[in-house]
Amino acid sequence: MGDLHSGLLVAVIALVTLLLRALPFIIFGGKGKTPAFITYLSNVLPCAIMGMLIVYCLRGTELLKAPYGIPELIAGGTVVFLHLWKKNTLLSIAVGTILYMFLVQ
């Protein structure tokens, strides 16, 4: 494929991504007051989205075939346990990731 077509593809992907990020601000972000419904959503969405992102990250986990999601369960459980215990973000993430890499390799 030529450079021109590749360049156009990059431009299209960049523009659509930017449009998705900007659209809510364009529609609701004007000078006026934010509609009450949107304010409500902005309060309750972050928790729901974080839950959705965790499911999104783990979507490829095979539960019915070896290793039956055990590495995800052990590493994820370790992150939860460490974070509730030590409350140190970096520690929880580093230990969880290293443990997961060890388990899958």
Binding site: V12, L41, C47, M52
Partner: protein, 232 residues
């Protein structure tokens, strides 16, 4: 002080973005694209999972329409981030366009609660976290494009760092709210949609269903929230 604080908070993203960025750089250069392409894509697109998808689109010479549709599907979740940041990004002035452009999953996880200590300027924190995160991504991917093929270290499983980041943010949010309905709705609805629609197609149905459920429960959730404020 603002930069130092933002840098500290962004450290988990630094680790993940440098490694995942390198992965992108290695993948794209392995398809015969130069490191300039890697750099420009990370600078202009700046969307982790979409850039991985873009490697296939570029290498396969996809049509512009199919690239646009694919981007819409993969990145539709960004609509959610915008909706929840409208009020928090108000009054950010000249920084606002960049804040909106750079609102990735990971940056969103660092700005969505809006919590900063009293001595930190929240708007400057938003800006520095956004800028630092993108520099990690650009540096990581460019490095990957330059020296990636010299590495022999087995990185399988390293993308779990992002999962772990989201788990940590989820716990923090859980502890800082008394009403866990929306967190539970997010997890349950996404799981149900994952079972019904499968891993490649579940995000958009999940978003629609989460919005629908939250809308239906608005009366009850808002009542509870104002009850909490009165009690607190």
């Amino acid at each position: 002080m603002n930069i130092r604080y933002a840098w500290k908070r962004s450290l988990p993203v630094m680790a993940g973005y440098i490694v995942l960025g390198m992965g992108f750089g290695i993948l794209l250069t392995s398809k015969g694209y130069s490191v300039v392409w890697v750099f420009l894509m990370s600078l202009l697109i700046y969307a982790g999972s979409m850039q991985y998808v873009a490697v296939d689109l570029l290498a396969g010479g996809a049509s512009l329409i199919s690239a646009a549709l694919m981007t819409l599907m993969v990145n539709a979740r960004h609509l959610f981030y915008g909706i929840s940041m409208i009020d928090r990004y108000r009054g950010t002035g000249r920084k606002k366009p960049y804040l909106i452009f750079s609102l990735t999953d990971e940056t969103y996880s660092l700005v969505c609660s809006g919590d900063v200590p009293a001595e930190i300027d929240q708007k400057k924190y938003f800006f520095w976290v956004s800028l630092l995160d993108q520099s990690y991504w650009v540096i990581g991917s460019t490095l990957g494009g330059l020296i990636g093929n010299m590495l022999t270290f087995n990185t399988a499983g390293i993308d779990f760092s992002m999962t772990a980041l989201f788990i940590v943010v989820f716990i923090e949010q859980w502890k800082s709210t008394r009403n866990h309905a929306s967190a539970l709705i997010g997890v349950t609805v996404s799981l149900v949609c994952l079972l019904i629609f499968g891993g490649d197609n579940f995000l958009i149905p999940s978003m629609a269903a989460i919005t629908a459920v939250l809308t239906l429960l608005r009366g009850r959730l808002e009542q509870k929230e104002s009850g909490e404020k009165n009690n607190g």
